[in-house]
């Protein structure tokens, strides 16, 4: 199954490349009053020019992780671990240095552009406020594909549609020439055709400016189609990190497989949806073992006490499941279950027998 391995760059997802733009290591975030950490040992990297997707259902911690890159935490939160942007530790930054970090290196684009724009100021003022000159503001609007930018800079938000405003917000994000763009459900509220336009634009910007992109979405198919690597989050943890193509063809974690089989697709043959039972956990739910155990069809008694940790996969990814096939020689999980029948673990089966690849291809 060599086609499931990363295609050109063999840099494994588990080990951050040396030149990582954003590197989050073991970030744990606790809130007073919450029964479990909001984020639990989250590690991820984004390299320059890389599109990394962060996928999960509501409450999985994906937005919290993205905001951590800006040093932006909920009130009262206690963070441990490390968030490094371009070699600088973000967690310890305060005052002027924190403001400089938020203003220069990283930009965040939210789902709702109207919440980011002052309704009584002109669009041009919004861009100038972010460090662009008057002439540059017009150029920026042209570069994000807004027709007639000369006129647009003098307009106010209510004169434009949601798709146009999201372009304005992206232009504002680019005004400070960031090297990392955090897109938090930035296209989720838009029509599909507008979403395609905005994503095409972001891809162009990545090629032109070497922009790193952390792309947060609830849409697993979008993540797998658009990004280079995907992190899947559940209950504040990263449960799987894979290349996008590996995630589609051989998802390793039962939750990832569940998300794929419960997402409707447009394929020619209609495969019945298989919903994941139960509901995503809230902050008051605690887990002595694997957080997915209650909803997992493949759970065994050992899962209830197994503390999740990323298990490296042969293709360089990782999955936090007790029953994935670990890379030979690397942190064997459960030697006691080493003799489990291979047919029990669909991922392992696929790796062993390439002919069965179609069976797990949910794309």
């Amino acid at each position: 199954m060599s086609e499931n391995r990363p295609r050109s760059t063999p840099a494994p997802a588990a080990a951050p490349p040396a030149e990582a733009l954003l590197e989050i290591v073991d970030l744990t975030l606790r809130l007073p009053g919450a029964a479990r950490p909001v984020l639990d040992s989250v590690s991820l990297t984004v390299a320059p020019g890389e599109v990394v997707a962060l996928v999960g259902e509501s409450g999985s911690g994906k937005s919290t992780t993205a905001k951590a890159a800006l040093g932006l935490f909920p009130a009262g939160a206690v963070a441990s671990g490390s968030v490094r942007f371009d070699g600088t530790e973000v967690l310890g930054l305060t005052g002027e240095r924190l403001r400089a970090h938020r203003a220069d290196g990283v930009a965040l684009v939210h789902q709702d552009p109207r919440a980011a724009l002052n309704p009584v100021r002109r669009v041009g003022d919004f861009l100038v406020e972010r460090g662009a000159g008057r002439a540059e503001a017009v150029e920026l609007l042209a570069s994000v594909g807004l027709p007639d930018p000369q006129r647009r800079v003098r307009q106010r938000p209510h004169e434009m549609s949601g798709g146009m405003l999201q372009r304005v917000v992206i232009a504002g994000a680019l005004a400070a020439r960031p090297r990392l763009l955090l897109a938090d459900e930035a296209t989720s509220a838009l029509d599909v055709t507008t979403q395609a336009d905005i994503l095409a634009l972001l891809r162009t910007l990545r090629a032109e400016h070497g922009l790193g992109l952390l792309f947060i979405t609830h849409d697993l198919h979008l993540a797998a189609a658009y990004s280079d690597r995907v992190y899947v989050m559940y209950a504040g943890r990263v449960v799987e990190s894979r290349t996008a193509s590996a995630l589609f063809t051989a998802p390793a974690h039962p939750y990832t497989r569940g998300l794929l089989t419960c997402s409707p697709t447009l394929g020619d043959t209609l495969t019945p949806l298989r919903p994941i039972p139960g509901r995503p956990p809230s902050l008051s739910d605690t887990f002595p073992g694997c957080p997915f155990v209650e909803r997992c069809a493949e759970a065994e008694p050992t899962c209830e006490t197994w503390s999740p940790r990323p298990v490296p996969l042969p293709d360089g990814g990782a999955a936090a499941c007790a029953f994935v096939n670990a890379e030979p020689g690397l942190s064997p999980v459960f030697t006691a279950v080493g003799n489990r029948p291979a047919g029990r673990d669909r991922w392992a089966q696929t790796q062993a027998d390439g002919a069965d690849a179609d069976e797990v291809n949910h794309a």
Binding site: T193, A196, A225, P264, L273, R279, P280
Partner: protein, 269 residues
């Protein structure tokens, strides 16, 4: 006798705009739904799909055009008299995107269902049966909407609509705000209810993949007009209209490149 359960004939609605202009939200929209059928209405924002759904239930009065259920015309304004109004309610019920604003915040799930059952002279004991059918347990039965999750609220909204025992259920973006794992549960529930009760569905959504899973036939709307119609499988597999093709090409799948679909020239509507 007509073989159609629901007949909508040239429904049109024009809204005045500030400054003297006007906006045609729906233009000559015509369709039929057979008993127990499922019709999808897809389109992007501003296509008029919600306006059509609201005209069906009577929340928006069409400028012209008629709606008939089982061969009987629905009057544009609610009839006088309790019996006639209840009969009208039993024809079509609606489920909205956000049940939080359509459910009474003061009523528990059981009270909500009992109110609807009592109004329609049905036994209040059926409330427990309805809760069970939509998969809500005893804990949720005594909870108010604010204590329910989004998926549970949508289950309650569906149970409330079913309490009236309607012939047709109109769902306007009813699963759009839900997490995918919950969305799949609700879609499965709708399929079960349709099989068990024979209720017909009018499923309004922007999500082509969801519509593919729920409906037999589909209307594709753009700027108030129906641009394509037909069996859902056919329309979404081999679309005739360039706009339907653009919509389909914009849905991300493996090997998808947004630049392929971005700014595909479309003929003016």
């Amino acid at each position: 006798m007509t073989p159609h359960l629901l007949e909508a004939d040239s429904l049109s609605k024009t809204y005045p705009l500030p400054g003297g202009g006007s906006h045609q939200a729906a233009a000559d929209v015509t369709f039929t739904v057979p008993p127990g059928g499922a019709l999808g209405i897809v389109g992007e924002s501003g296509s008029g799909k919600t306006t059509v759904a609201r005209m069906l239930v009577g929340l928006v009065r069409p400028d012209h055009g008629t709606i008939a259920v089982a061969g009987r015309a629905r009057e544009p304004r609610p009839p006088r008299g309790r019996a006639a109004r209840l009969a009208r309610a039993r024809e079509i019920q609606m489920v909205f995107q956000d049940p939080y604003v359509s459910l009474d915040p003061r009523l528990t799930a059981t009270q909500c269902l009992r109110t609807a059952l009592r109004l329609h002279d049905r036994g209040e004991a059926e409330a427990a049966e309805l809760l069970d059918r939509v998969g809500l347990g005893p804990r949720e039965a005594d909870a108010r909407p604010r204590d329910l999750s989004g998926g549970q609220r949508q289950r309650l909204a569906i149970a409330r609509a079913l309490a009236v025992d309607p012939r047709i259920l109109v769902l306007d973006e009813a699963v759009a705000a839900l997490d995918v794992s919950i969305q799949a549960q609700i879609l499965q529930l709708l399929a079960e209810i349709r099989a068990e009760t024979g209720v017909a569905l009018v499923f309004v959504s922007h999500d082509l993949a969801v519509v593919r899973h729920v409906t037999d036939e589909v209307l594709v709307m753009r700027r108030g007009k129906v641009v394509e119609r037909g069996a859902t499988a056919r329309v979404l597999a081999s679309p005739d209209d360039p706009y339907t093709r653009l919509l389909l090409a914009s849905v991300p799948t493996e090997g998808w490149d947004p630049t392929d679909t971005a700014r595909t020239p479309l003929p003016p509507p």
